[in-house]
């Protein structure tokens, strides 16, 4: 599997330069966190990676090919996106919702055994099997978030891009989902997460890209990126970085 490469990406939205000369090689088998204050360009970068936005200059390449030039079905099978908005516009049941994850795989005439297996595995992975026949309008916010994550997992993409996948989850399911995303990376696929929570980022990320005003402040291995000076520059806060006795890294904001 090849890298997903942002190469000198520049993006202007409504006259504002939201990404400026952003370069990073996202690597398969690793969890990469996109970090930065509100408006730093995290979601815009994710949108460029998913080919939802076309950079004005530079490009995002997958295996050397511009993602914009990929056939839309090939791209949909390679790159799965979990947007931040938890939109489900019709009250469909969870199984149908997760089945939509097979959208780019399905032939014209219904679902295959592989489709059914992938949906069942995604339901199990997100602890949603018991909710399979429940309508989405009768789910809590966190259950809905997990069902939507299951939708992306069911597509078995090489790259899983997620915008704030932990935002509506309780701590127990945050840890579950983090473990699940780590498992996806562990199977050799790439995971890119927009996170606003430094603490969770420190916990899950192998690599990190720290953005400020559309530019990269620091990028590389998460331990090297998440330093007090870099965080001070990107977020304007002082943090205390340490390790728990069990060896988990933590980042604690102490002052601004």
């Amino acid at each position: 599997m090849t890298d997903l490469v942002a190469d000198a990406v520049r993006l202007t939205l409504g006259g504002r330069r939201v990404l400026d000369d952003v370069s990073f090689a996202f690597r398969p088998g690793r969890v990469t966190a996109l970090l930065g204050a509100n408006g730093a360009g995290k979601s815009s970068l994710l949108a460029c990676l998913a080919a939802l936005r076309r950079p004005d200059r530079g490009a995002v390449r997958l295996g050397g090919t511009d993602v914009q030039a990929l056939d839309r079905w090939v791209r949909a099978r390679a790159i799965g996106l979990l947007p931040q908005a938890a939109d489900v516009h019709w009250d469909i049941d969870v199984q149908t919702l997760v089945g939509l994850g097979r959208f780019a795989h399905r032939g014209r005439w219904g679902e295959s055994q592989a489709d059914r297996d992938a949906v069942a595995a995604a339901l199990a992975a997100t602890d949603m099997t018991g909710f399979a026949t429940r309508g989405v309008e009768r789910l809590s916010g966190g259950e809905r978030g997990r069902a939507l994550l299951a939708r992306v997992l069911a597509g078995e993409p090489d790259w899983l891009l997620a915008d704030e996948p932990l935002a509506s989850l309780d701590p127990a399911h945050q840890l579950d989902v983090l473990a699940r995303l780590r498992g996806v990376a562990g199977s050799g696929r790439g995971v890119v997460l927009v996170l606003h929570d430094l603490h969770l980022a420190a916990r899950v990320a192998d690599d990190a890209v720290l953005l400020k005003d559309g530019r990269v402040v620091a990028s590389g291995a998460a331990d090297d990126v998440l330093t007090a000076p870099a965080i001070a520059e990107a977020y304007g806060i002082d943090v205390e970085i340490g390790r728990t006795p069990q060896g988990h890294r933590y980042i604690l904001p102490v002052a601004r």
């Binding site: 949108a47 939802l52 839309r72 079905w73 149908t96 939509l100 959208f103």
Partner: protein
């Protein structure tokens, strides 16, 4: 799912039988032979009218289901697109200039109106595939076509023409012939085929525009299919029956409890259900003991207004 489809087909056959039988004159079955002059009532009047009711009902039901799925709004209706008002304005122009005497001119004008409205909508929405531009563009076209129609009525050369326009706008299937079927059937057929091609993309849109695009939906292609499909189905329906509202709004709601909420699952039942509803309604307006026949468009509006209110109240209960 299969049972619902079969049930609707059976209902449609029953509605068709009712429609062929319904009218001021009872024609017994043994009078259906060519020798009996009463057979003309069946073959030349009631059969084409029944076929047209089924076609128009299916077109409106399907286009309503596609509209609601595409705009992800349960209150959407094909009338929102400006296509039906554009078609109506075209037909009104034909009546205004007295062209309606020739058989092909009124449908021709109506289809041209629908086509122009469609082209304008495509221009307004541009290449963005954006739903907001699309919806607002449709609303603007609807109001422009509506005001031009009102202008034509007010400037009509004779009171007869203005009353002719007003009556036509109410929508009906009275006195339609096989020629009307010949105009409408191919256009509605092609339009319905285009709309059927949107089915899977509509399912993906359930998750919002960004997710749908990442799943492989091409929003521009989808929008073109929807615009062309609605223009053909709704344009041809208005050309042959005038404006018949609410079918596209009501039918998808009636089938959802039986077929589920997945947008693609309600397309076929909505087409069949629309055909059943309109064929039944068109039979009932003929059977109603009124002096002159109740206009179908008015009958549907009288059903549709309260139905709309019921929908809103149901939504309010759910939000409360």
């Amino acid at each position: 799912m299969k049972r619902l489809t079969i049930g609707l087909i059976v209902a449609l056959l029953l509605a068709a039988c009712l429609s062929v039988a319904a009218g001021k004159v009872w024609v017994p079955l043994d009078a259906w032979t060519v020798e009996d002059p009463r057979s003309i009532i069946i073959v030349e009047l009631r059969l084409p009218r029944t076929v047209l009711a089924m076609l128009v009902g299916a077109a409106l039901g399907l286009s309503g289901a596609v509209m609601q799925g595409y705009l992800r709004n349960p209150l959407a209706d094909p009338g929102l697109f400006g296509v039906s008002s554009g078609a109506a304005f075209g037909a009104v122009l034909a009546l205004y200039f007295g062209y309606a005497a020739q058989l092909w001119l009124l449908p021709g004008f109506a289809l041209t109106g629908a086509g122009i409205a469609m082209a304008l909508l495509a221009l307004i929405a541009g290449r963005s595939g954006s739903l907001i531009l699309f919806t607002l563009g449709g609303m603007i076209l609807t109001s422009i076509a509506g005001s031009l129609t009102a202008l034509a009525i007010s400037l009509a050369p004779t009171p007869f023409v203005s009353s002719q326009i007003v009556v036509w706008l109410m929508g009906a299937l009275t006195d339609r012939s096989w020629d009307d079927v010949k105009v409408a059937a191919p256009l509605i057929g092609i339009g319905m085929a285009l709309l059927a091609m949107t089915a899977r993309s509509l399912d993906a849109l359930t998750l919002g525009e960004a997710a749908a695009r990442s799943m492989g939906v091409d929003p521009v292609r989808l929008q073109r299919l929807v615009i062309a499909g609605i223009a053909l189905t709704v344009g041809a329906s208005v050309a042959s029956a005038g404006i018949i509202g609410f079918v596209g709004l009501m039918v998808p709601h009636l089938v959802r409890p039986l077929a589920g909420n997945r947008p693609s699952a309600i397309l076929l039942p909505s087409a069949l259900g629309g055909a059943v509803l309109l064929t039944m309604a068109d039979s009932l307006v003929r059977l109603a003991p009124t002096v002159s026949e109740l206009r179908l468009g008015i009958a549907m509006s009288m059903l549709g207004g309260p139905f709309f209110l019921y929908l809103l109240l149901a939504m309010r209960r759910r939000l409360a």
